[in-house]
Amino acid sequence: MSRPGFVLSVDAQTPPLVVFQGERVLLQRLPSGASVLYPPDALPGIHQLDAEISQALANPIDSEPLTALLRRGSRVTVVFDDLSQPSTSRAAPDVRQRVIEHVLELAAAAGVDDVELIAATGLRRRLTPYDLQRVLGERVFASFFPEHLHSHDAEDGNLIEVGTAEDGTPIEINARVVSSDLVISVRLATAVGNEGAPAVATKLASARTARALTSPLAAAAGASAFESLVDTIGDTATVFTIDVTLTPEPTGPTTAFLSKREREWNITDRVLSAGIQVATKVLPSRAKLGLSQISGVGFGVTSVLAGKPSSVHPLTESFLAQQQVGEVDSPADVALFGIPNPNGFGTALNPVTAASLGLGQIFNGQAAKPVVRAGGTAIFYHPLTPWFHPLYHPAYVDFFAEALSATTDPAALSADFEGKFAADTWFRHLYQTSYAHHALHPFHAWYSAAPAIEHLGEIIFVGGNLESTRRMGFKAATTLNDALEMASDSVGLSPSITYVHGAPVSISEVS
């Protein structure tokens, strides 16, 4: 058990606190009386990962060992998490590679020739060959790419209906997965709310199914539709899951101090902090992006569990809950969040993604309950620069320019724009043949933020681009004092303030 999280009350002696703002790291002095919510320290990573993986595969939960499930001549599909989960190491192999190599060694020994590896991308972009090689390593890549190693395609005609949701929506799943004898799912999770649904099928569904189940107009709740597809998919496919949990923040010598409590900083931490301050002031923006990327060294692996998905998922969830902050006494009037650029992505966050990520913290954050009361104010630190990745975000550009400037209401967006985007052949072409996110991806990101927008009275971005914040229906402030001044209309002149320290827990969910 690691050191638990705690709540600090800011007083005159409290040093300025670390606040992430895009590629910058600020040192912000908070008003006296504010509370600071520190997450628990990360658990130490597993040192002997190979032994841990072998042990998990040999002693799975509520399932036969993997060696018994793999039979000569069977049809096996390995499904793994894409870059929506962080890569665990920069220099050493990624944990997905480590697990999949173990699985494939067992499969080869059992006499399995028909193996296919599919990245569970959902509506996110396909992985480039470079991405695949980085995630799975050269050995697996060279053995299977391109015929037997690829990303899921939600627009492909090769999808099979395996059932219907309550409202009659057909549930279409990747045909290869449905026709397999054994589906081995390799999943990563960094924190509660980040481990995804128990069913692997949610990330392998067709765009039509995903659209119908995620739409704000649909009556059916998305997750319940997949309930019957947790342990088996279709008639033949049994699912064997391998859940790997990671430390919530990257661990490494250079930036470990950013998640430390400021009062405990030693002289090296202070020097590093001063260095980062200077570097972010002096360097041009592209170089600053690079700075944020070298800073994260890797995520430590804290547990490996394997077995039947419906039995493993609750265990993973409860294990991750240990890493969460305990109960918040009472929700505050104002909550403060810093939003960094996720490292390892090679891009800045676009404004829609940054907003949905930040707002996602209200309900799925480090605390079990929202840290801000209904009708309260949330203050985020992010520049919201209206910049979109030319390759990954073509649909976001139109969503931001056309759809959001017309309305920010999810129901109206769904009724007026979603159909047009979903039917757009150019976006579909880019999704299937280039590396663009699906045209529905920005809509789903926005819908995920909708409950938080509903919950909050005011949303203010410190240092936010004026045009972007206005378009999304938020407000921009230059400093924290300005933001508190703006919030005083709704929360009064002396509101209770909670600052959630550190990076958002599900920083990687947005890819």
């Binding site: 040192h47 002997q48 990962l49 190979d50 032994a51 050493a92 192999p93 480590r98 494939l104 060694e105 080869a108 020994a109 059992a110 006499g111 020739d113 193996v115 050269e138 050995r139 697996v140 060279a142 053995s143 299977f144």
Partner: protein, 238 residues
């Protein structure tokens, strides 16, 4: 012929390393057992293992005659006692247990010394396959070719010899692991694993090498030094 130094190796060849992560998580020391196609092998491995193993002593084939042979024999430098003492002090060993070096760099018969040492001391044995070092530095050359040829260093999963087990069985295990690495070069990683499971590993591994004992010597050397096509620079992206 002089053996190139570690620094020279760093400049002259381009190593591709696989399986090093198996070692970084385990406490040392280890007994590394490798095939020995070329003189570049020992410095290459000590270069590759620099960050993983703090101290490494490589033990090459014993000189057969001359002053060095008698010195080695009288001082007992290669005796099991000396090697065990080194392992006790946390020094990892790199052994090349082939009885003789083949003139075309292929795998020859292994002696059971390494396996015996592993059984006796309980230290983990790490099989290492070196691919492409013969091509990079064949016996008639003094320096590798100037294009920084690619060489593969493939570490197998460590083998823990159980006390009392048969040295020949452990040696077979080591040879199998090294052949698996050799097969990886032709059939790919998964192909090699499948070949191992089907019991056709020797055939798959043999393709990388000179083409079997039966062919003429020149043909074996010809094949072993054939240029690596994957290394050729191309203008067009394939």
């Amino acid at each position: 012929m002089s053996v190139p130094s570690r620094q020279a190796v760093r400049l002259l060849v381009n190593p591709v390393v696989r399986g090093r992560e198996y070692l970084s998580e385990l406490p040392g020391p280890f007994i590394f057992v490798a095939n020995h196609p070329s003189d570049v092998d020992a410095p290459l491995l000590s270069q590759v293992l620099a960050g993983v193993v703090p101290r490494l002593v490589s033990v090459s084939a014993a000189p057969q005659a001359g002053i060095r042979a008698s010195a080695v024999k009288s001082l007992g430098l290669r005796s099991a006692r000396t090697l065990t003492a080194m392992l006790d002090h946390g020094v990892s060993l790199l052994l090349f247990p082939e009885n003789r070096r083949a003139d075309d760099g292929t795998l020859t018969e292994f002696n059971a010394g390494a396996a015996r040492l592993g059984i006796q001391t309980g230290v983990q044995i790490v099989p290492v396959t070196l691919v492409g070092t013969y091509r990079a530095l064949p016996p008639w050359r003094h320096l590798p070719e100037t294009s920084r040829p690619k060489v593969s260093v493939i570490f197998g999963r460590p083998i823990q010899a159980v006390p009392g087990s048969e040295p020949s069985a452990v040696t077979d295990q080591i040879v199998k692991a090294i052949s698996l690495g050799l097969a990886e070069a032709t059939t790919g990683w998964y192909g090699a694993l499948r070949a191992e499971a089907e019991g056709v590993l020797d055939k798959a591994a043999g393709q990388t090498q000179g083409g079997g004992e039966s062919s003429a010597r020149w043909r074996r050397i010809w094949k072993a030094t054939a240029p690596d096509k994957s290394q050729r620079r191309t203008v067009w992206v394939k």
